[in-house]
Amino acid sequence: MAQATRKRPVAKTEDAAVSARIAAQSHFRILRLGTPFQPRLDALAKTQDWYNWAGYRAPHSLWDEELEYFAIRSQAALFDISPMTKYRIEGPDAEAFLDRVTLRDVTKLRPGRVHYTAWCDDEGFVLDDGTLFRLSPTRFRLCSQERHLPWLLDSAIGFDVVVKEETEAVAGLALQGPTSFAVLRDAGFAGVEKLKIFDLADFPHDGGTVTISRTGFTGDLGYELFVPSAKALSLWDRLMTAGELRGIRAIGYTALNRARLEAGLIVANGDFTTAEHAIRADRLRRPDEIGLGFMIDPEKAHFNGRRAILQARARRKLRHVLVGLEVEGNIPAEHAIVYHKKHQEVGLVSAAMWSPMAKRNIAIASLARPYGDTVVEDLWVEIYAMRELQYQKLMKRAKVVARPFIKLDRRIANPPADF
């Protein structure tokens, strides 16, 4: 006798959550989302040179990547940072929670301040670096390259804190360059002159508020602005209008990347591999191995990875070091192999350029200790420069130098200069 087949009609539910979920299905039709500023970017995108930034259509350049760089250094450059991952962390235990998760001492981060920090897994390997904004005594925003919601939620167990991902809800702009202060002032953000480096404050905008911090990724005078997505376009227009006489220009990532390299700043999954993405175990890095040792405060309360990080220090188990290099000549050494005495392979250049501001050929490299650490003499980089379908192979001397490669007084000057 044949078995009976159970009938199981598809449930038709009126559940609002289900309806909202179903309404969100159509995302598959647009693989690269526009940011809240996309209408403005599209209007300016003469090069139509886009790349994929965490699922968003972001510009490599908008009109001329070289000139966009000079807009950062000479005027004011507007760069859309909306695709950056953003978490809102709020609650009575927010400070204690973040002090536990991140490397730097969050108890020392006052409300209205920002710091650059990093966080590690239990083995002390770096999960990511990012900026932590203290918006109030109990409210923070954490910005990063990669996504960490499971890590943050799991770490929050036992803390009275709410962690919410708000990447899409919050739009971000970086306004960087010597005239950036003047632009903000002219745009009517009264009191913005009071912001010292790493300060933040809320300002009224379009019936709401915009959070402006004196931060950036360029080593220049500059600000970052965070606004609810619905107010993004009015903010853009407000800045562009005010900046017209101050040479404001929208820019793409290539220009920004040059500025950040001159500033000696590192990029997650560009200059090091984040722990949750490292398939090969030897690619994992401790903070001391990527130049973030300065963040570690053994005196502060317990933090994730502390034991492993301090043990690695004590047992001299640090295998790598991230250094700034100055390379002879003017050919960028991007992704070149670093040698000791021209033959022993000791590392790799992760980013390199000719610096217009320093007039030097600069690079960031990861080396196997002791090279770059105690052995810094006789280092070389092998540059394969493709010229009309032939490699010009160059062996150039490299010198370990301090980062940043350029230091601009205007970055920290108070009050900020009015150009």
């Binding site: 078995q3 979920r21 398939i279």
Partner: protein, 539 residues
């Protein structure tokens, strides 16, 4: 009477891979196949005019690219096309899709859980790490841990070194991965039912275990360690159906001078003084061979084709106890138009991927409960694809071939043989499930082929219809596959070798068992293996 250098019993993909390599080494090789066509479980047959079915296996990922290259299979017509993701339909009228694009994939998961959406990268990292550990082992003969031969010691050392190269954390993860249940494994990463179900399906396909049974995490790995042209974990359709794989192998074999006899069922292996001397066909015809290689599974080979008295007791007992349980069936359907799924937007890429209707691990486990009770699942788990959305060669324009892999189906129904009425009831459970999500589905059906374990065993020869020629659990892998002491493709009978999926590294249309067996045979014959590419480096 002519004595062939080698007689291969069974023209499945592993038998043909083995035959190709032996023939190309200069041996005079005969393949004997009981059916009137070759292919074993990798066939494409036209059972109704205009429609080609992938009758058994239906998607391709595991088939080793080194073998495709060595045997010039592209020249003989083999093309594998990556397909586009897939979906699990949910009972609330929605679906969870898998998209190839990383960010679309994340956004899709975020519809159900923002947390799980961001957990995927760590999951993918850990699974990829495990795949990279296993991949290099696929194209090597497993070492005999009891042997003191330099080669075995070398291979053991290789295995040991690979293991020792792992960090303490990875070692723990590896051991857990090889032994834990897929449900427990997924609980470490995800919290949403449908997301867990979406991944758990790879842990149960082809296995007489439920998602909560220990050992199923490894089965998932087995489905992830393949590739389509370097894209690890990707699955594709063989253009022309899975028969294209064996068609190309047969053509390659013949082009190198090999001989295939179809409609030639082997009754038994001729054994004299502990050595295989050839085979005797069902009609009584005797074919002599200097060695015999069986592509049949280990049970069929040693419990049906070789007389028990020729085999040591312990070996025989272990073969009898080898776990090779029927757990799945297949429903192949010719459709006069593309089915519509109201839950799925018309322009969704999911139509070109794999579709499922089991939206929780719990439902999978309940489907398994039916199997344990000797029933087919009332609410079965389906792995459903419509290859004709990408492959224009399998059906006339506008018409479609749909392949439904169905789990669970017991080898016997409540302890007795399957009947035709059972088979129809089994098919109805499948059609009813699809029709719930696709109104009007029944009206599109032109023709249907229903294969329960009974049909699979009878037609393909797989004992109990087990698609892997033996469960892929840790106790039946590496040097324990199929039987400890006989994991190197040799058997207690001199000159009788095994080359089917019962041997290392196991089932799926991979070809590695056939290739590895050929390497062992050529070593015994002191012949060169220079025509066999080593495994591609995993860097």
């Amino acid at each position: 009477m002519k004595a062939w250098d080698a007689i291969i019993i069974g023209g499945g993909h592993n038998g043909l891979v083995n035959a190709c390599y032996l023939q190309r080494a200069g041996l005079d090789v005969l393949v004997v196949e009981k059916n009137d066509w070759v292919g074993g479980a990798a066939t494409s047959r036209e059972l109704t005019p205009g429609f080609l079915y992938s009758n058994c296996s239906y998607v391709c990922s595991l088939f080793r690219p080194e073998i495709m290259r060595d045997l010039e299979l592209p020249r003989f017509g083999l093309q594998v096309i990556s397909y586009e993701g897939g979906a699990v339909f949910t009972r609330d009228g929605d679906y969870l899709a898998n998209y190839r694009d990383h960010d679309a994939h994340r956004r899709e998961f975020a519809r159900f859980s923002k947390r799980d959406a961001e957990a995927y990268d760590r999951y993918a990292r850990d699974v990829t790490r495990q795949c990279r550990f296993i991949q290099p082992l696929l194209m090597r003969t497993a070492p005999d841990p009891t042997s003191l031969k330099p080669r075995d010691l070398g291979e053991l050392l290789y295995l040991g070194k690979k293991f020792a190269g792992l960090s303490a954390e990875e070692m723990a993860l590896t051991l857990r991965f090889w032994t834990m249940s897929i449900s427990d494994f997924l609980d470490e990463y995800f919290e949403t039912d449908v997301i867990k179900a979406n991944f758990a399906l790879s842990g149960i396909i082809g296995t007489a275990l439920g998602p909560m049974s220990p050992g199923t995490a490894y089965v998932l790995l087995h489905h992830y360690m393949g590739e389509v042209d370097g894209s690890v974990g990707a699955w594709g359709y063989a253009r022309g159906g899975m028969g294209a794989v064996t068609k190309a192998l047969a053509a390659s074999f013949k082009a190198s001078g090999g001989t295939i006899r179809t409609g030639a069922e082997v009754d038994h292996v001729l054994v004299s003084r502990g050595k295989a001397k050839g085979v005797v066909l069902a009609g009584g015809e005797e074919i002599r061979g200097k060695l015999v290689v069986s592509n049949a599974d280990v049970k069929r080979t040693f419990l049906k084709l070789v007389e028990e008295k020729e085999l040591p007791d312990i070996f025989l007992r272990r073969v009898k106890n080898f776990k090779m349980r029927g757990s799945s069936g297949k429903v192949n359907i010719a459709l006069d138009s593309l089915p519509e799924f109201p839950a799925l937007p018309k322009d969704s890429p999911v139509y070109r991927g794999d579709m499922h209707f089991t939206d929780s691990v719990e439902r999978m486990e309940r489907a398994y409960d039916d199997w344990k009770a000797g029933r087919w699942s009332a609410d079965p788990f389906l792995d459903m694809v419509i290859p004709t959305t990408l492959d224009p060669t399998m059906a006339p324009p506008g018409k479609h071939f749909m392949s439904c892999f169905v789990q669970y189906a017991p080898p016997k129904v409540s302890g007795r043989e399957w009947t035709d009425a059972d088979r129809d009831g089994f098919a109805e459970s499948v059609i009813a499930q699809i029709a719930e999500y696709s109104p009007g589905f029944r009206d599109r059906i032109v023709h249907m082929e229903v294969r329960t374990p009974r049909e699979i065993e009878a037609e393909v020869g797989l004992t109990e219809g087990n698609i892997f020629q033996g469960e892929l659990t840790f106790d039946q892998l590496l040097f324990n596959r199929p039987v400890p002491g006989y994991a190197q493709y040799r058997s207690p009978v001199g000159g009788l070798y095994m080359c089917g999926s019962s041997t290392h590294p196991g089932g799926g249309v991979m070809g590695a068992p056939g290739r590895n067996a050929a390497a062992e045979i050529l070593r015994d014959l002191a012949k060169s293996t220079s025509h066999m590419s080593p495994a591609h480096d995993v860097i």
